[in-house]
Amino acid sequence: MTDKKIEMIDVNKWFDDFHVLKNINLTVKAGERVVICGPSGSGKSTVVRCINRLEEHQSGVIRVDGVELTNDKAAIATIRSEVGMVFQQFNLFPHLSVLDNLILGPMKARGLSRADATDRAMHYLERVRIPEQAGKRPAQLSGGQQQRVAIARSLTMEPKVMLFDEPTSALDPEMISEVLDVMVSLARDGMTMIVVTHEMGFARKVADQMIFMDGGEIVESGPPEPFFTAAKSARCQKFLSQILQH
C-alpha cells in the first residue's frame, strides 16, 4: 500500500495529568529497523504500545500501513492483525502448551484449520529453534526459550511489523543472546521492526535508525553511526556513556 509502515505525527499522550508523550514524530519505512532507548519512564514503551492501541493517544495521528488509529474497532483489529508484539514478561498463556499458544491466534482470529495452524506453528517454532518443546507448558521452559516461543507466537500471525518492548530485560544474562540471535535473523530477513532495548551491541548490528527518548520526548534520532560516536545532546551522551560502560 505505502512505503511508510508506521507514521506518528505530533502524537501526545497523558496519563491523567502526566504528559507521557510530547509531540512524537516518527516514520518507519518497510524493512526498516528502529531501536528506541532511553532511561526508564522516558515513554519509550508507551510509544510502542500506542502503535497497536494497547494505549490510546490523545492528540496527533498514528498510521499503520496507511490505516489511521482511531476508536474504530475494525481499524484497530486490522492494525493488530498486521502488528506483532513481544513483551518484556513474555505473556505466554500458562494454561496452554507451547503449540496451543501458537495455534490459538491463527485458528480463532484467522480461521485456519487446526492442521494448517499446526503446520504454521511448527514452521515458526523451527525458526526460533525449539520445535522439540512444542508439547511442553511455558512454565517448563527457561526464560530465553519462553521469549523465543513468544516471538514465534507473534510470527504465526504473519505480521508486517514487529514491536519488541524490552524483550531481554527480564532474562538472565546467559539467555539474552539466544533471543537476540533470533531477532537478528528476523532483521536479516527484512522484517520491519521497532525495538525498545538497552542492548546496544544488537542496536549497532541491526538498527537503521536510533532513537533516544527522555521525559516523553524524542531527544535525538538518526542512523547508528553518528548516534553512537557523536551524539549531539548532552542527555543522550550521558545516557550512552552510562549504558556503554558495561
Partner: protein
C-alpha cells in the same frame, strides 16, 4: 467434628429409653411411627438439594453477567456493577423472598403477564438473586487476579474481547474461582431453609410441620440440624477435593 457427632449419637441413644424430658421416640426408627416421621423429614432433602442446585446454576450464570461490566474500562459500566452488587448484597434474604413471592406476581400482572410464582420458583429466584452479588465478586476478583499482560497478549494476536475471555482469561481464572464458588453453594443450601416460610416442602418446612403435630421441638430440630450438617459436610468434602485437584493442576 467427630467427637460432636459421637456425643450427639450417644445423647440420642441414651435418650431413646423412656424419660420424662426426652421424647426421642418421635424419631425412633425401630417404631413404626418414628420411622414414618423420619421418612417424612428426610423426604424434604430432595427439594432442598434441587432448589439449591437450580439457584446455584442461575447464580453462576447471573454472577458472570454482573461481573463483566466491573472489568470494563468504561466508568458507567463499572458503576452499574457497583450499584447491583451493593444493592442486592444489602437486602436480607427473608424480605427479598417476600418481595419476590408476594410482590413480583403483582408486577407481572401490571405488565399484563400471567406468571404465577410457586414457592419453589420463588425460592429459586430469591436465592439466585441474592447469591449472584457474591458470585459476581468472586468472578471479578478471580478474573482480575489474571495478569493484565495476558489480555494484552491475547489482543495483540488478534483475539476479540469474547475470544480473549473464553480461551485465555476464564480458563485460568476458573481455577481460582471454582473453590470459592463451590463454597458459596453451602451458603445457598443453608439459606434455602427460609423457603419454608413461603411453604416450600423442604427440610425445615417438614420439621416445622411435624413439630406442630408431635410437639417435640427439641428432638425434631436436633434431627433437622443434623440433616443440614450431613449435607454441608458432604459438600465441604467435595469442595476440598476440588481445591486439591485445582491446586495440583496449578503446579503443572
Amino acid at each position: 467434628m467427630k467427637i460432636l457427632l459421637a456425643l450427639l449419637t450417644l445423647l440420642f441413644l441414651s435418650s431413646c429409653a423412656s424419660s420424662d424430658i426426652w421424647g426421642w421416640y418421635v424419631i425412633d426408627p425401630t417404631t413404626k411411627n418414628g420411622w414414618i416421621n423420619i421418612k417424612f423429614l428426610i423426604n424434604g432433602m430432595g427439594n432442598t438439594i434441587l432448589v439449591s442446585l437450580i439457584a446455584a446454576g442461575f447464580s453462576i450464570a447471573l454472577g458472570l453477567l454482573v461481573a463483566l461490566p466491573a472489568l470494563s474500562h468504561r466508568r458507567w459500566l463499572r458503576i452499574i456493577n457497583r450499584i447491583y452488587v451493593e444493592f442486592v448484597r444489602s437486602i436480607p434474604l427473608l424480605p427479598m423472598l417476600f418481595w419476590v413471592f408476594y410482590g413480583l406476581p403483582i408486577i407481572f400482572k401490571s405488565m399484563g403477564l400471567d406468571i404465577p410464582i410457586d414457592p419453589f420458583w420463588g425460592a429459586v429466584i430469591t436465592l439466585a438473586l441474592s447469591d449472584s452479588a457474591f458470585t459476581a465478586e468472586i468472578y471479578r476478583s478471580g478474573i482480575q487476579s489474571i495478569a493484565r499482560g495476558q489480555t494484552e497478549a491475547a489482543r495483540t494476536i488478534g483475539l476479540s474481547y469474547a475470544q480473549t475471555m473464553r480461551y485465555v482469561i476464564l480458563p485460568q481464572a476458573i481455577r481460582r474461582i471454582l473453590p470459592p464458588l463451590a463454597n458459596q453453594f453451602i451458603y445457598i443450601v443453608k439459606m434455602s431453609a427460609f423457603a419454608s416460610v413461603i411453604g416450600m416442602q423442604e427440610l425445615t418446612r417438614r420439621a416445622n410441620e411435624l413439630v406442630v403435630s408431635e410437639y417435640r421441638p427439641l428432638e425434631l430440630y436436633t434431627f433437622l440440624i443434623l440433616e443440614y450438617l450431613v449435607l454441608v459436610l458432604i459438600i465441604s468434602a467435595g469442595v476440598r477435593w476440588l481445591e486439591r485437584r485445582m491446586g495440583a493442576d496449578e503446579r503443572n
